[in-house]
């Protein structure tokens, strides 16, 4: 038995070698994708996975990388720091990936990205929007997502020009790096506009009841409620605010940009505003092509899907710019040269802080869908 087992192994490896030999001209570049498939950020993870797979397939199909073939390896970071670290270790040491996309949450990134920095593996953050603590980890950490500050500050200014609100209340999740960062940015943006914050309340990710916070804020009579929350909390907050009979204007942070928010909040989501990094109806050919690709896969893409796709395009471009070489340092060197790359989220460049740079938009829920506010 033992012998035959070993024999089978030999035969199999020979077969594998032969198979590999036939495609000898092909170099495989592995990209590890650490995404939240479970836990509070699971709504984003599924969308991102679809975007990355589509991006990889499209790049391979287009032949832009000649003999380089991209392969995505997916792992679940469980929306936690601990699991995120474990996944990064697997990618770096076991899968020996050339680059890592993810993790989904800024919170996880603050813990896992330093491992990649130490191992000199380039990371592309596709949804980490905390302004601080991500790309400043080191020169191997790059990001295609816009930070909360890049989205919220200009969008809120536009919103104030439209609605001229005078008093704001803020509700935010204080146990998550992303929602906390969103709060800091909202606070700064409101101060910049000279709008007083009449009340601030917090909640934690596992919370499902926000009635007490909302009732307390309602009593203070603000004319805009700013919420920094992940989609799952966001839906509950908006639904409960409307159940309390509170018709205040609601503004959501980046966490609201998910079809799951509208689905779970139902009609309560009507009229809610949010800033976004991706202008879905954009007529740019690359965006229209992206929409077509996703439609063919039966996926209704959201901002997270578009950013995930953009992350793959950025890696592919970096490989191309470093002469079709897909090593860890080749990709990092390539990132330095990525300029004005056409992507679904817009004409994309990395700025000097390795953060993504393109123009954000303001949107509002109308008829069960996010529509662009001109």
């Amino acid at each position: 038995m033992r012998f035959s087992g070993r024999f089978a192994l030999v035969v199999m490896s020979a077969a594998a070698l032969a198979a590999g030999g036939r495609a000898s001209a092909e170099t495989v570049v592995k990209i590890g994708a650490a995404l939240s498939m479970t836990g509070p950020a699971a709504v984003y993870g599924a969308s991102q996975k679809a975007g990355i797979q589509a991006g990889v397939d499209e790049v391979n199909r287009s032949g832009m990388l000649k003999n380089v073939k991209l392969v995505a390896v997916f792992e679940d970071d469980g929306s936690t720091k601990e699991q995120g670290i474990a996944v990064f270790q697997k990618f770096i040491n076991k899968d020996k990936v050339a680059a890592i996309i993810g993790p989904t949450l800024s919170n996880t990134a603050t813990a896992a990205d330093p491992l990649a920095q130490a191992a000199k593996v380039p990371v592309v953050a596709i949804s980490n929007t905390a302004p601080k603590g991500i790309t400043d980890i080191g020169d191997y950490i790059w990001r295609v997502a816009l930070t909360e500050a890049q989205v919220i500050t200009p969008a809120l200014k536009r919103m104030h020009a439209r609605l001229a609100f005078k008093k704001a209340a803020v509700l935010y999740g204080n146990d998550d790096a992303f929602t906390q960062a969103g709060y800091n940015v909202m606070k700064g943006a409101l101060e910049g506009l000279g709008i007083p914050i009449v009340g601030t309340q917090t909640f934690a990710k596992p919370d499902r009841d926000y009635n007490a916070q909302l009732t307390a804020l309602k009593a203070l009579g603000p004319d805009i409620l700013m919420v920094s929350a992940l989609a799952e909390n966001a839906a509950g907050i908006v639904a409960q605010a409307r159940q309390l009979g509170w018709q205040v204007t609601i503004w959501g942070g980046n966490g609201f940009n998910s079809p799951a928010f509208i689905k779970n909040a139902g009609p309560a989501s009507e009229g809610v505003y949010a800033g976004t990094a991706w202008y879905k109806p954009s007529a740019e050919p690359v965006n229209q092509a992206f929409l077509k690709v996703m439609a063919a896969r039966g996926v209704d893409p959201d901002q997270f899907c578009a950013q995930a796709y953009t992350g793959v395009l950025a890696i592919a471009e970096a490989i191309k710019l470093s002469g079709m070489k897909g090593g860890r340092d080749d990709i990092r060197a390539g990132f330095l040269k990525v300029k004005n790359l056409p992507t679904p989220v817009g004409t994309f460049s990395f700025n000097k802080d390795r953060d993504g740079d393109h123009t954000p938009t303001l949107q509002q829920v109308k008829g069960g869908k996010f529509q662009i506010v001109p």
């Binding site: 699971a42 917090t202 909640f203 009635n211 007490a212 009732t215 639904a239 779970n264």
Partner: protein, 293 residues
């Protein structure tokens, strides 16, 4: 102010319902069933399947889901507790095996329904205008939830005080061996307690899902510890105590959030729990009323 009282009573009624079933096996039989929160979650998903998939009205789905939860309770007893009952340390080993089963239940839910938060279809509870009461707005759902909590509490008290099963349960609580000698089928009595306890936990889960529109495999975690706190606060094994403590904790939490902010909620709530235990170690209604009744 009036609105915050309503918010507190509403939250409290869910804590009370959850704790009521919890205390039946924990307080009365001295068995800590750590899978209670998982049953709470499963029942919510079952009701969702009945309403969303089979298009049953919620009034039919709620009792059905509670019965399914009761059956899961029987399974729990059979798998996690009964095989260990003869052992000397059966309470601790049962605690561990129920924790294992809770993990299994959560994993099953994760596989079947996925990690995303689901909600009951819109219009599951007919939306009427909120009813004005004491200058606050009360929704029908809130009234029904508080009503169901009180109704189930009254029926359970009646069951334990005045029926044969109730007498058997109290006898088992006192001493399983003595009860057996007196001709009580101990295994059957405990199984019945598990059925009732899990059905109550299931009902709480369905109402929670309806109230907050957030059904997810990890939804039990937000009430798990609170339920335990409520049992201890109310006085071990005291069902009126559990209900009182449930409402008290709900109201207290809401007022902490309104005055100090949500960051302080759990800290202040558990500090109050600690204080009550120091000053009154037997809990609010801590005469262990059931055992002496």
């Amino acid at each position: 102010m009036g609105q915050q009282v309503i918010n507190g009573l509403f939250l409290g009624s869910i804590y009370a319902l959850f704790a009521l079933g919890y205390t039946l096996v924990f307080g009365v039989l001295d068995i800590l069933n750590l899978a209670h929160a998982a049953v709470f979650m499963l029942a919510s998903f079952v009701a969702l399947a009945l309403v969303g998939g089979a298009h049953l009205p919620i009034l039919a789905a709620l009792p059905l889901a509670a019965v399914v939860a009761g059956l899961i309770g029987l399974l729990l007893d059979r798998v996690a507790f009964r095989p260990l009952r003869a052992r000397a340390d059966s309470n601790i080993s049962g605690l561990i095996s129920s924790l294992a089963l809770a993990t299994v239940f959560e994993a099953v839910a994760l596989q079947v329904w996925g990690p995303n938060v689901s909600r009951f279809p819109l219009g599951t509870v007919p939306e009427g205008r909120p009813i004005p009461l004491l200058g606050a707005e009360v929704s029908r759902l809130q009234l029904v939830t508080v009503g169901v909590a009180v109704l189930l509490f009254v029926s359970l008290t009646w069951l334990v005080r005045s029926t044969r099963l109730g007498r058997e349960l109290r006898a088992v609580a006192e001493s399983p061996r003595a009860a057996r000698i007196l001709g009580v089928d101990v295994d059957r009595a405990i199984a019945a307690a598990f059925f009732i306890s899990s059905a109550l936990g299931g009902a709480a889960g369905v109402l929670f899902g309806l109230a907050y529109n957030a059904i997810a495999p990890d939804m039990g975690r937000s009430v798990e510890l609170k339920g335990l706190a409520v049992i201890i606060l109310g006085g071990m094994g005291s069902m009126p105590g559990a209900v009182l403590a449930g409402f008290a904790l709900g109201l207290f939490e809401v007022f902490v959030v309104a005055t100090f902010g949500a960051s302080w909620r759990d800290a202040v709530s558990f500090a109050a729990l600690f204080l009550v235990l120091v000053l009154r170690p037997r809990g609010l209604l801590g005469a262990a009323a059931l055992r002496e009744a």
